[in-house]
Assembly symmetry: C2
Homo-oligomer: 476 residues x 2
């Protein structure tokens, strides 16, 4: 039975200006986690958020994470954890967000002051953190407030986990989540994260998958120091030559991975999965606009989205130790380190993939008959994540989208990784849903970051509606 949401929705509309004012206050605190000097502002932002939550009647704790690794003079900002509701008859939803932001200076090219929320006549609300991730975080608070003022019973118990280091690698958070999985987060029934974006600008989506990433270094060394190519060219095996040959064996110009043992691990496309692609709001023109060029490998949407979401890709990032500046330098670099990474997908195994990659590089290097020395290794690896979009967590969200936006959502994956997603899934053992509020043009890490007023206000309705459908959705 569809929940009665009219009173809640009207209250959200009535409180719209107050909710924008709340966002304005949040944006005004420059909580830049990557800049040491801004650490007090990050902490201030955490305290402000905790105070807002308390004023709404939530139980709040500021949990310290200790010193920042490699920067022992800095304390990590606290994790703000909060609980709203303790009714054992209700489902408990754990939501995650972050209250820190990317760096921003007006001089970077912003049209407005980055830490002053500025609305234009198209309803765009410009400001650092507006969409990433202060708008969505405040969405949960606003949903609570609108329920209270509308006199509507809150449909679930809400557990909240808001961190202050997301834009700097979420330092310390994984350990915290794992430690609290059986404690603070123990009665979680499902997880919802609002920290990604619609695929386009018009159609909402629910995100059920992310690719993983295995990052590799291929170091080739020869002489003890850089050489002059005039004096030594032609007499010694050159590490750059070896790395160029190895790079050329990894991937072809059409993006095909040439390493045996990779494609064999990729899960076949099922009919269920394939059916999700047909209606997705995405055109090649969208991609051409994002790229700023028409240099796409595929000509149509479906293989393009599959390449982004469900097939692995290999990118050559660059070479450390070689000549990389403008101009002409006649150097033979003594030691070069090629960097590349593979985006991984179900059912690729990290260790099996690493073994295949390293063995292949070693075999190809042996074929070169070079006297140089090779060292190939995986620098870091993060697993892919795929949730079941058939879970009640997703079906509840899908119904909420239809109710608020009048359209069935796209079920999407993303090509990149949001590591905390997998951490929550593994630590709690529960279904995780990515429920975005902003759209593809928000420019999360760019200048002129914005959140459309419409996405903010309807997004608040969506978060609340989602919780109501969660309360009604049968077990799956």
């Amino acid at each position: 039975m569809a929940p009665n949401l009219d009173g809640y929705f009207k209250q959200v509309d009535d409180l719209g200006d107050a909710f924008i004012e709340r966002l304005r206050k949040a944006v005004a605190i420059p909580s830049i986690s990557a800049e040491d000097a801004r650490r007090p502002d990050v902490v201030r932002m955490g305290n402000w958020l905790a105070a807002e939550l308390k004023s709404l009647g939530a139980e709040v704790e500021l949990r310290p994470l200790g010193k920042q690794p490699h920067k022992e003079h800095l304390e990590l900002p606290p994790v703000v954890v909060a609980r709203y509701g303790r009714d054992t008859a209700k489902r408990t939803i754990l939501v995650y967000g972050h209250y820190d932001v990317q760096p921003a200076e007006k001089s970077d090219g912003w049209a407005t002051e980055p830490f002053e929320l500025t609305l234009d006549d198209k309803g765009r609300m410009f400001g650092r953190g507006s969409t990433d991730d202060k708008g969505p975080v405040l969405g949960w608070l606003n949903a609570i407030e609108a329920h209270q003022k509308a006199g509507v019973d809150f449909p679930v118990n809400l557990l909240m986990c808001f961190e202050g280091m997301e834009e700097y690698g979420s330092e310390g958070l994984d350990d915290f989540i794992r430690a609290e999985a059986g404690k603070y987060f123990a009665d979680t029934d499902a997880v919802c994260i609002s920290d990604n974006y619609w695929l386009g600008t018009e159609k909402p989506c629910l995100t059920y998958g992310l690719r993983g990433c295995n990052y590799y270094s291929v170091e080739v060394s020869g002489p003890a120091a850089d050489l002059h190519s005039g004096v030594f060219g032609g007499q010694a095996h050159e590490p750059m030559t070896d790395v160029a040959h190895l790079f050329s064996k990894l991937v072809d110009s059409k993006g095909n991975i040439l390493i045996p043992g990779i494609s064999e691990q990729v899960a076949p496309v099922t009919a269920d999965e394939e059916s999700l692609y047909s209606s997705i709001a995405f055109t090649m023109a969208n991609l051409h606009e994002s790229l700023g060029s028409k240099t796409t490998i595929h000509e149509t949407e479906k293989p393009t989205l599959m390449a982004r979401w469900r097939y692995p890709s290999l990118s050559l990032h660059g070479i450390e130790g070689a000549f990389a500046s403008p101009g002409a330098k006649t150097v033979i670099p003594a030691k070069v380190i090629g960097k590349f990474s593979i985006r991984t997908v179900p059912d690729m195994d990290i260790d099996k993939t690493n073994a295949a990659v390293i063995k292949y590089i070693q075999d190809e290097f042996a074929k070169l008959n070079s006297k140089n020395t090779l060292k190939a290794e995986c620098m870091h690896a993060g697993k892919w994540w795929v949730a079941s979009p058939k879970h009640w967590n997703f079906s509840a969200a899908a119904k909420a989208v239809e109710r608020v936006w009048g359209v069935a959502p796209d079920f999407t994956r993303e090509g990149g990784s949001i590591p905390v997603t997998l951490t929550f899934e593994e630590a709690t053992g529960k279904n995780v849903l990515l429920l975005p509020m902003g759209s593809s043009t928000d420019g999360a890490h760019s200048i002129n970051e914005k959140l459309d007023k419409r996405n903010y206000i309807e997004g608040i309705k969506l978060l609340g509606a989602y919780l109501h459908y969660v309360a009604e959705e049968p077990q799956t």
Copy 2:
């Protein structure tokens, strides 16, 4: 008939301390051409040199070269030109050297003050410019003085050309040499340059060839801006992939150039040339020491020296625009510029080589079927130089080496380029000889640059003896 040089030699020995004192004064002037703030010291050095020459009775002129290109607030230091002797019955030898030096700071790692000439108990005279090139330049002045004090007639007319910008690309010098070829340098019979080094530490050499250098850029561009490999990996043609494939087609790990039309241009080895290699004082151990590794392509000396001197080589220098720092960055670079160069040898033609290289890169790029955009071009090119070691200029020098050092010199080439050599040859149309004073361990551009006292004193004898043999050598 061997000239009587005993009186001259004895005088050089007697004046040894005074000559070292002259070098000490020269080294004390930090004439660093690459540092704007040192420009007055470079000019002071030129003036000091001119004054020394005048005190020896030479006719001296300081020739201005105008403003420094791209640094219009700086005057280029003057070229010091001088003439010693105007006897039309004598041959006229034009000698070149430079009075500027490389940068040096004690804090770079020098064991002594770089601008204080410091002798150690092994007879090494440490100081910036000691061997490059103040020692050799003063060698000519010392030779004049020793002739005067010994009462020995100077055997030739000596034209001198000493510049102050060699360590900064010899700005303005080429035009000056060409302009003066028919004027100040008009009666030149041959040219001698003492600005290179012995192949090793024990055996003198005469240098008759240098390789040229064609430097190329291979730019591949695709998207309008750098991309995130998570979001876009697998969907667009990646410029780095294309450059890696192009690089792998240029040269193999054994240094073989894979571009058609290059090796076809290389002059065959003649029996005359081959005979010069048999006695050369060079071992694979020397090369291993220089490299700091045993990663040599060839196993024996002769093919190694031929690879350095008389065959082309291709070195991949690096990639501009890609990720080049330590760490792991998941970027797809939007535009990358591969840099490589070919060391050229007789009879390679610059234009023909460029045409072959560019066409080959374009053909190989077409095979990749990439939608990216290619721009390949030659950034700069300098021609190789080979002189006839049978010319009287060389045979005179060879006899002088035998007389002073008691051993026949090695006839060597060098892998790198000294562009002024070719300029003098082309402008004057005369034979050019490279007659080094210092040895391979002098560390010309390094910390702890030195000139051995033995090489300095015997080198002064050698320069004088060379001029005596020049005077007697029959026309070739």
